[in-house]
Structure formats: C-alpha cells, structure tokens
C-alpha cells in the first residue's frame, strides 16, 4: 500500500519528499527523452538553416517527413520486403535455436561436440560469408533468410541452452523421485525454467534479425537483386537523394524499436507473475 491509497494519512517531511521524488521520476522517465528528442530535431533543423546546407547533403527534418509521405508507396513496399525476411528469419532462429538447445540438453556429449560450431558460425562476420552463400544458393529469398538466420539464431541457442541447464538440483531430484520421464522433465521442468533465458535471447535476436536482413540486402543489393529497404538506401545514395535515404533510415530504426518493444511486452506478459526480472522493485 502506498500513501496514495490513504490520502488522509499525514506524511512526515522525509516521506513526503520521497513521494514527490517518485512522482517526478515517473513523469521524467517519459518527458525527458521526448524533450531531448524534440530539441535534437530542432537543432538539426537550425543547423541546416544557419549553415545553408543543401538538402542533398543534409535535408531538414521537415523535408524528410515530406519525403516519407510522398514516397510512402515505394518505401513501405520495401519495408514489407525487409520485414518479411526479418520475421521469417526470427521464426527460423527460434525454431533452430530452441531445437538445437533441446538437442544439446539431452546429452552433455552432444553439446560438447556441436556447440563450438555454433560459435564459429556466430563469430565469423556475415558480410564475409555472404559471397559464399551467393555462390551456393540461387534463390534470392533463401539467400537473405540464411544470412539473417545465421546472425539471429545464436543468442537464442546459447541463452536457451544456459536456461535448460540451470534447473534447481532439488527440483531435478523431485522429478526423479516421482519417476518422471525425460519428456516430462523437459516439458514440465526444463522448458519452463529456461523461459526467462529464452525470452532474453529472443529480445536480442529480434534486433539482430533486422540487422541481419538489412545487411544481407546491402550485400545482395549491391548487385541490384534486392528490393528491400537497404537497396532503397543504396539507390538513394547513388542518386544523392538524401531525404529518401534519411526516410528509409528512420523507417528501419522505428521498425527495430517496435520489434524490441513488442518482444519486451511479450516477455513481460509471460514472466510477470513469477520471475524476478518482471517484478516491480519493492522497498
């Protein structure tokens, strides 16, 4: 119970100050970033005006917004292409990452044997692998998917593996005592226990799959084979169409933010009842 529920209670100065502080913080959490953002955009606009910067070098925010509106058809259809790759690769990363983690959890030997390969795949820069993929894979979508998947699946795999292995010893004994089968232990104990870890990995993978998709398009787009947002950016760069370049960039980062927020929300909804990470700080 906070004092808000009991307005009749008189607070001593210390508690009153604390309450005021809390209110201020609650408001400030939203207001401050917003204010800074607006200030930054305003400053951007002023710099363009003060220095007479031509719009093919640095367009004013208003121009970018106008472009976003005028080129909406082109930009959003490209966004759709990028999103398709992003979500497909994220879905495949979830399936592949969780699937491999479950496989690893079945036996220490399997994990010891194959985990290093996953690390090799993760640490090799995707841009460097892409030319190879380009040679071996014909289908354009498959190419991009493979690229984005390689980038996105590792955090899910490593987090889920960690989660599956972090089950309380006593709980494991309890399942053993009750004669639980392997499958029951996985279904009722290890998978739920791994959930917070998996969701943490998913949040990272969500961002990475977008990055993977865009990077893949960039590399592919250099040869004019892609129609995603990245190729719009390259195209706009060639034509010195800075406003469109900025508009595409803004779309990409908004998409990234949206993906992060949605995944955070999902994570919160799943964990809110029991996991420490989703609980409000108690004093």
């Amino acid at each position: 119970m906070t004092a808000i529920d009991h307005p009749a209670v008189t607070l001593d100065p210390e508690e009153a100050r604390r309450l005021r502080q809390e209110r201020l913080e609650r408001i400030g959490r939203w207001l401050l970033p917003l204010a800074i953002m607006i200030l930054a955009i305003w400053l951007w606009d002023r710099i363009c005006v003060w220095n007479d910067i031509p719009k093919y070098i640095l367009p004013r925010p208003g121009v970018v917004l106008q472009t976003l509106h005028d080129d909406a058809g082109l930009l959003f259809s490209s966004l759709l292409v990028t999103l398709k790759i992003t979500f497909l690769s994220l879905a495949l990363a979830v399936v592949g990452g969780v699937g491999l983690a479950v496989l690893f959890a079945q036996s220490k030997w399997v994990e010891m044997s194959f985990f290093p390969f996953a690390i090799v795949l993760q640490v090799t820069p995707i841009v460097a692998i892409f030319p190879l993929i380009n040679i071996y894979v014909d289908n354009q979508t498959t190419k991009l998917l493979l690229c984005a998947w390689i980038v996105a699946f590792f955090p899910i795999l490593s987090n889920t593996t960690l989660g599956l292995n972090s089950v309380d010893r006593n709980l494991r004994d309890l399942f053993k005592l009750n004669g639980a089968t392997r499958w029951q232990q996985l279904r009722y104990l290890r998978l739920p226990a791994a959930m917070p870890y998996f969701l943490g990995g998913l949040k990272i993978a969500g961002g990475l799959s977008l990055i993977g998709a865009v990077v893949a398009e960039f590399v592919a787009g250099a040869t004019g084979q892609s129609s995603g947002l990245a190729s719009r950016i390259i195209e706009a760069g060639y034509r010195l169409n800075a406003p469109r370049l900025f508009a595409a960039l803004i779309l990409i980062s908004l998409t990234g933010i949206l993906i992060f927020l949605v995944l955070s929300l999902i994570s919160h909804l799943i964990l809110r009842r029991w996991h420490e990470s989703a609980l409000k700080q108690e004093r």
Binding site: N170, D173, L177, N178, G179, Y188, R273, W274
Partner: protein, 276 residues
Amino acid sequence: MKFEKVAQAPVAASGQGSTLLALRDVGKVFSNGVTALSDVNLTIREGDFLSLLGPSGCGKSTALRLIAGLSTPTSGLLDWRGSGSFDRSDIGFVFQEPTLLPWADVFDNVWLPLRLKGVSRARAAPAVMEMLARVHLTGFENAVPRELSGGMKMRVSIARAMVTKPRVLLMDEPFGALDEITRFKLNNDLLELWQGERFTVVFVTHSVFESVFLSNRVVVMAARPGRVFREFAVEAPYPRDEAFRTSPAYAALCRQASDVLIGAINSTAGSHHDGH
C-alpha cells in the same frame, strides 16, 4: 489460519509397528574420498516418527538420500523386505528449501507428482484440494510461490509430498530456515497430519528441541565418519501440543537428548578445535 483439533486417541510413544526398512552396515564414500557414512545400522518401523539428529557433516542428509533412492550405498544394503511391496511412489520427500516450481501456482505444484503419473487435473483435483485443506492452505490454490510466506511455501511442499499418500515421508531439515513461531506451528501441524494417518516419517534435523517434540525415536549421529552414535525413544505420549512444549517433562527429555548430542559431538576426534 485456524488450527483445527482433530479428535485423536492418545498414542503410545514408542511405535510397535513392523519393520519397514533396515539399513545394514551401510556405508557411503564419495568420489572425492570423503566417507559420508560408515557402518550405519538402523531399523525403521512402520508408523515411526524417527528423527536423525546430529551436527553438520554427520551424514544425516546422505542417509536420507540413500533411503529415497537418490543415491546408492557404497557398502551394505537397504533391506525393504519387511515392507511388502514397496516402490518409489511410496516415498514422499520434503527438501530443505520449499523447492516449488516458481512459475506454477499452488494447485499445480501440489498436482505435480500426480501429473507425472498421468493423473489429469480434473481427476487430481479432489486429492489436491483435500491436501491443501489439511495443510491449512484452502483459498490459496491460485497463488504463485513468490506471493507466499516462507511457512506457507513449506506447507505447499509438504502437501505436494503427501498428495500421493506415501507410506514414508522423508524430510530433510524442512523447517531450518523458518522463524521460531512459524516453525512451532508447522511442527504442530505436521504432528496432526502424522497422527491422522500414521505414515512413517524420517526427519532430519540439527535441533534437539524439534527432534524431541516431534519424534518417538531419535537417532543421534556423529561426524567424521558419519555414523550412528546412539538411539533412544522419546517416552512421551501423543498428542503433543503447546502444553507439552512448555512442560517440565519436555525440558527433561530435551536435556537428555542434548547430553547424548554433546557426547556425539565430543566423540569426533579434533572437534574441540574445529571452528568450521
């Protein structure tokens, strides 16, 4: 929580039940060379409330894990022959910590042992609800563990261990982490449960007072190597209640038990200089 008193006939202190389990010359040596148990001989009778009392490192938890089948003895044997047909599902285990599934609510936690045996939620419900009533947790079915106090979590843990109606309940210092008021209350409730059904309890503790209050037999163990030091019967009738806890008879029994325990501690070579 209301404490309901069930009408119970006074029961003789020393159980006269048939032998359920005999440990014969049981020894356990861990892979790191530590001898956890050496030549343990112990008879557990049907209906016993038997406490394993001893300092830390005397192997009482190891003995419990051996009985549970979570670990196998290095030497000697566990003889279940006196028990008729006996299998793992006849054992309930209560850990030192509540050891609940944090993501599952109270109902699902208590349902778990039945669920693992393939009993559906609907079919398990009567048994689960009855068990929750018996540990005084009716109305908390939908709470998750973090919403419960330490004592309530332990009640859930006991309900889970008892929901399969086991013949033996093994308890590994279950109330060690609780405050005294809660511990007393759980002691009373545990005795009430036990007297209702007369299952067998093997209770590990390092508290003289707890072991004397609860059990009809106390086995005092000594450390390095873990072994049985002495065994004695607690000659006080059941039901034991708050009046018993403050009676001179209880104090005298505690004194006796305490003397035996001190003997056990002193019997360990080098224990006088041992700070840890």
